[in-house]
Amino acid sequence: MTRPEALVSFVRALRDAGIPVGPTVAGELMAAAELVGLADAHDVYHAFRALTVTSVEQVPTFNEVFVRFFGADDSHLVTVTSPAPPRTWSIHRGREEGAEGEGDEEAEDDAFVGASARERLATRDFATLTPEEVAEVRALIARMVWHPAFTWSRRRRPSRTGDRPDLRRTLRGSVGPEGDLLRVATSERRIRRRPLIFIADVSGSMERYAEMLLYFAHAARGRLGRLEAFVFSTRLTRITRPLQRRDPSAAIAEVAETVTDWSGGTQIGEAIRTFNVEWSRRVGRGSPIALIVSDGWDRGEPALLAAEMARLRRSVHRVVWLNPLAGRPGYAPETRGMRAALPYVDDFLPAANLTDLATLIELLESVPARRIA
């Protein structure tokens, strides 16, 4: 069972299954098997798991591969009960046009988009764009130049005009030929970029807007602090990883593949609850800005949405709600969901066209470091 060749192919199988193990791991497994002894399959299981897995989410995959290699007796496989495994979505193939046309679209991204187009498209509603215009708008989004507001880190760096003496540098500076204390060196807090948490509604009515905002998020990700992204209609899916791909079309195509119900009923309260319970503490460090994109058509309980929004607001620096309908003349936030959520929203903005995005950028560029309650 622990012949080197068997272990090597076990390691290869782990890698194929998506567990990124290092090159030396086979040797380590060999050593571990000798240490714990082969008499006890349980111990071999635990030992192999401890050496290869680097997060609890990988345990089910590991179990599967382990059983395949070392026998079907899975009675000893310890099931890990917490946290709840991330929800998986079956693969949806309905949006393949995007994936197929990938090459062309890339070319379009690079197409020259002139000033006249910018003017023409500035106030065009995203939902009414023709496919050519979508490409133009995406190119424009990719080229927006802006700088998000920063905040202070607790780390410090040397500075001539800092607010705190830096004794290490002061002393070192004084150990010269003179040996006198010439100048007190100082340090200041480093600046850091505030993380952004993007939570977009991708239910039927929102699909096009969400997609354009995903492009916006993708284009901005290098400029922002950490970007965490989620989409929901009936359930919440984390899309941070697909969005990390460099090519925007490929990234969005992968997002589309991970998400099945691009057009189901909307459960905003439930989605925010999932975020609060499963993700907030894992991705919410560094007082982020939460950016919610939704038209507020919620099929769930308004009370639930209100409670979850309240909790979300307590755990982030600022809650920005982007509603594509908000810019329409005569719009008032009258849907039950929107009314329930609004008391916990710091900024309520439209997000239906490029001009609206410019407003959003203005906001992100000027978010103050301190929260004004």
């Binding site: 990124p20 193990v21 290092g22 380590e28 050593a31 571990a32 240490l35 714990v36 006890d40 349980h42 111990d43 635990h46 030992a47 798991r49 401890a50 050496l51 897995v53 680097t54 997060s55 609890v56 345990v59 310890v78 890990v80 009960t81 917490s82 946290p83 880190s153 607790r154 780390r155 410090r156 004794l167 290490r168 002061t170 002393l171 004084s174 150990v175 040996g179 204390l181 609060n276 319970v277 503490r281 894992r282 991705v283 919410g284 460090r285 409670a307 909790r311």
Partner: protein, 299 residues
């Protein structure tokens, strides 16, 4: 292998030694600890708050009869606080004295930049102890709270356990200290660091183990009440609460109930003491809504 782990040369020995010190470990943790010791690799413990991660380091230090050196991580933690700092006040005083004696002209840098003027922080303490042949237990607690930059530094340190202080020289551990890293997962720790470690997810205990934990930790605990408490904890953890209670809360609860003289867990004793177990208002409300009877198991 050196004789230092003579008393824990098998998984059984680890489990027994832990049990002797009132830590009820499951087999999986026993294997992970044993491997970390034998292979000389850091042990990475991840899990929800209050499941006994930090305790593992304390118990292990006791088992190995080693010094426990603890580095508590926090946002903004830097090398000055993790590794070493110069004792500036002393250095300045020394400069003054040298000047007052009129020795300024032949004073050397080494006069004020020597080991005497160094304040070792936990990482250097561990390396110095290990350089002298001891094998301390270095606990790097709640690494997820530190900044990512610090993690990168730690990765480097964990690979060779040596530090170079320009004015003094290089201090290298003869043998790596026993390292235990804990994380509450408020963010993901970089894979490169985790891969260097033995990974173990510290889960909530199952019913039997929780009963054992309560009766082990609180010696004069009534077995029946312990079973009721453990059952209630299983129920609470199944409720999708914002912060499911950990083992720390179980023990607090058991102690609270004992102080209050409860002989049985019932709706009213649950209601009176819920604040010991649940720390979020929403969670308390949710349980009250469902009815404390359901938690007490007296429904």
């Amino acid at each position: 292998m050196a004789p230092r782990v003579a008393e824990v040369r098998s998984v059984e020995a680890v489990l027994e030694a832990f049990a002797d010190r009132q830590y009820v470990a499951d087999r999986s943790l026993g294997v992970a600890v044993y491997l970390a010791l034998e292979l000389g690799r850091p042990l990475f413990l991840e899990g929800e708050a209050g499941v006994g991660k930090t305790e593992v380091a304390k118990v292990l230090a006791a088992v190995l009869d080693s010094e426990l050196i603890r580095l508590q991580c926090y946002e903004g933690l830097d090398v000055n606080h993790a590794l070493y700092e110069w004792d500036y006040a002393r250095q300045m005083l020394a400069i003054r004295i040298i000047e007052a004696r009129g020795e300024g002209s032949h004073a050397q840098v080494g006069d004020i930049m020597s080991r005497d003027y160094l304040i070792p922080r936990p990482l250097l303490q561990a390396i110095e102890a290990a350089a002298e042949g001891a094998r301390p237990v270095l606990l790097i607690d709640e690494l997820d709270r530190a900044d990512e930059e610090f993690e990168a530094y730690l990765l480097e340190l964990l690979s060779d356990f040596q530090v170079t202080i320009p004015e003094i020289g290089t201090i290298a551990a003869k043998e790596p200290p026993v390292v235990i890293i804990t994380s509450n997962r408020t963010r993901e720790i970089h894979d490169a660091l985790k891969r260097r470690c033995i990974y173990h997810w510290v889960d909530y205990p199952d019913f039997d183990r929780e009963v054992e934990i309560i009766t082990t930790k609180i010696p004069d605990m009534d077995e029946r009440l312990a079973r009721q408490i453990a059952a209630a904890m299983q129920t609470l953890r199944s409720l999708e609460l914002f912060k499911p209670p950990g083992v720390a809360e179980t023990l607090d609860w058991a102690r609270a109930l004992r102080v209050l003289g409860s002989r049985d867990l019932d709706a009213s004793s649950v209601e009176d003491t819920l604040g010991v177990v649940l720390k979020y208002r929403e969670d308390v409300e949710r349980v009250l809504e469902l009815g404390p009877d359901r938690v007490a198991g007296t429904e």
